[in-house]
């Protein structure tokens, strides 16, 4: 369990990025942190693995206060995949890249080998074992970055803007992958402003504006609330927009799932004909 207790954070330049954030993340949760640029999403998740320490308040990861421990110790539990894979890739081969963190955490050689193979397999990178990560495409690099974090099997996985620069198929694969991770009892936290992606995943949504949490709850409740969504400068998913526009026909307005929408419409059409 990760507890964020009334956290305030100001950067050395004086910019106040968080103004009193409280959040409890239970084991096995799947959370999407959403909000406009500069709302404090990334700042908040950087507190979860101790990269940033609160200027006020505290963050507690499995009963350990982040202020009292090191990033390296926290990282073993809290895996963080950064937005831009180019900010972390540096090894000569994909294999070494994935093994880097394992070596840092002191895994034995045999275990390292096993885990590298496991992670490469998981992300469909087996064929690129000996390739330089710099020769890969953007989507593949992103997968290498993901593999290099999942390799040490962290309990919590944070993904910062995982869908940026990905095409539809990659996104769909990523979605299935995240849901699979979550099904294996991993706690997954994604930071994103990709509304459609979140609507398809249907996680718990934490909405942020100006360094504060303005809403926290089911995606279906939050993404269909026009007022809340506008406050956070995002738009509802397309399917929701359609249903919001058809509200005068007496159709439900809290629809974010295309399949559900289909059911509702078919029932309605059958009733009228």
């Amino acid at each position: 369990m990760i507890e964020v207790k009334d956290v305030h954070f100001a950067y050395p330049t004086g910019v106040k990025a968080l103004r009193g954030v409280s959040l409890t993340i239970h084991d096995g949760d799947f959370i999407a942190i959403m909000g406009q640029n500069g709302a404090g999403k990334t700042t908040l998740v950087k507190h979860l693995n101790g990269l940033l320490k609160p200027t006020e308040g505290e963050v507690i990861v499995d009963k350990v206060k982040t202020k009292e421990t090191s990033v390296a110790k926290l990282a073993r539990k809290v895996g963080f995949v950064f937005q831009n894979p180019d900010h972390q890739l540096f090894c000569e081969t994909v294999e070494e890249e994935v093994a880097f963190a394992l070596k840092n955490f002191g895994f034995k050689e045999k275990a390292t080998k096993k885990r590298v193979s496991w992670a490469l397999n998981l992300l469909d990178l087996e064929g690129y074992r000996q390739t330089s990560p710099f020769m890969l495409s953007g989507g593949e690099r992103k997968r290498v970055a993901l593999a290099s974090v999942l390799a040490w099997d962290p309990k919590y996985v944070i993904l910062d803007e995982p869908t940026i620069g990905q095409d539809y198929q990659q996104k769909e694969k990523l979605r299935q992958f995240i849901i699979q991770l979550n099904a294996q009892e991993k706690t997954v936290i994604i930071v994103t402003h990709d509304v459609e992606f979140v609507a398809e995943c249907n996680p718990r949504v934490v909405l942020m504006t100006d360094g504060k949490i303005v809403a926290d709850g089911e995606a279906q409740k939050i993404l269909t609330n026009e007022k809340l969504v506008a406050q956070a400068s995002i738009v509802p998913p397309q399917i929701t927009q359609i249903f919001l526009g058809l509200a005068d026909l007496g159709l439900p307005t809290d629809i974010i799932d295309v399949h559900e929408a289909r059911e509702v419409l078919i029932t309605r059409l059958e009733a009228t004909s």
Binding site: P12, T13, K46, N49, L51, S70, V71, A72, A75, R76, G79, F80, F82, N84, D86, H87, Q88, L89, F90, F100, A101, N104, F105, F134, S148, V149, W152
Partner: protein
């Protein structure tokens, strides 16, 4: 990383910021020359206070003090080497004058730092590039210079992100002996260099697609012209130089040690 904040371009307006960078540079050079003319403590102390009104008019006191603080380390070394070498040179005998001379030379360094930091704190990189261009430095060099300065804070920010990303993968920069610590920086340097090269290639493409270097004679939106204030500063600078030269040639300067004994 806050060290690099100084390079961040801020549009500030003050009577000093608006002065012509060429004239400001001339003024700083005069201070430089005067500082080198004297090696006695008294005139150097006076010289230290000359740029002060400048600093206050520009409202950059805090940054100015910070850059002086940054000079303390080097100043201490200068002081120590002067004092020790004088001590050895005079055959291991202490004297007050030795101390004073060492302080004077340290002060000379501080005066130089103080004057130059006023210049850099009140002149934006763009302004500086413009001044270079109008002084007939080839445009390629001016552009390279301003671009380099402009990208320092960007790179610093990127370095910070890369450090975070690697720390999140369990990298501990402070671990191990000296050699190990140096090697710890490889995972940070490689992505940083790769992205800097990528960025420069992208920049080159963007520039070419905007017809960089098509004509020999570029025109500028802003052109530097000397205004009343600039002429005023030129006059002040020359007056300072004349007074300093007069004192240097014909006024005997007492040392602080003799003054204290009177």
């Amino acid at each position: 990383m806050s060290v690099f904040e100084g390079f961040r371009f801020r549009k500030v307006s003050s009577p000093i910021h608006d002065l012509d960078p060429r004239v400001k540079f001339f003024y700083v050079c005069i201070l430089f020359v005067i500082a080198l003319m004297f090696n006695q403590l008294l005139p150097l102390i006076v010289l230290f206070f000359v740029p002060l009104p400048f600093v206050f008019m520009a409202g950059v006191q805090r940054q100015w003090l910070r850059s002086l603080k940054g000079a303390i380390f080097l100043a201490t070394i200068i002081f120590a080497t002067n004092l020790v070498s004088r001590y050895i040179y005079s055959g291991y005998v202490w004297s007050a004058i030795m101390l004073e001379e060492s302080i004077a030379l340290t002060f000379r360094f501080i005066v130089l730092v103080a004057a130059f930091s006023v210049f850099f704190l009140t002149t934006s990189p763009d302004h500086l590039g413009l001044a270079l261009e109008q002084s007939h430095v080839p445009y390629e060099f001016c552009f390279a210079f301003t671009t380099a300065v402009r990208f320092v804070p960007v790179l610093a920010e990127e370095a910070q992100t890369i450090m975070d990303a690697q720390k999140a993968r369990g990298l501990e920069l402070e671990r191990g002996n000296f050699l190990k610590r140096v090697r710890n920086y490889i995972p940070i340097l490689i992505p940083l260099i790769v992205s800097a090269i990528r960025r420069s290639l992208e920049l080159a493409e963007a520039m070419e697609s905007r017809a960089w270097g098509t004509t020999k004679n570029r025109t500028n939106l802003y052109v530097l012209r000397l205004k009343t204030g600039d002429y005023g500063l030129v006059v002040i600078s020359i007056a300072l130089l004349i007074v300093a030269t007069y004192i240097w040639l014909s006024v005997p300067i007492p040392t602080v040690t003799t003054l204290l004994h009177m």
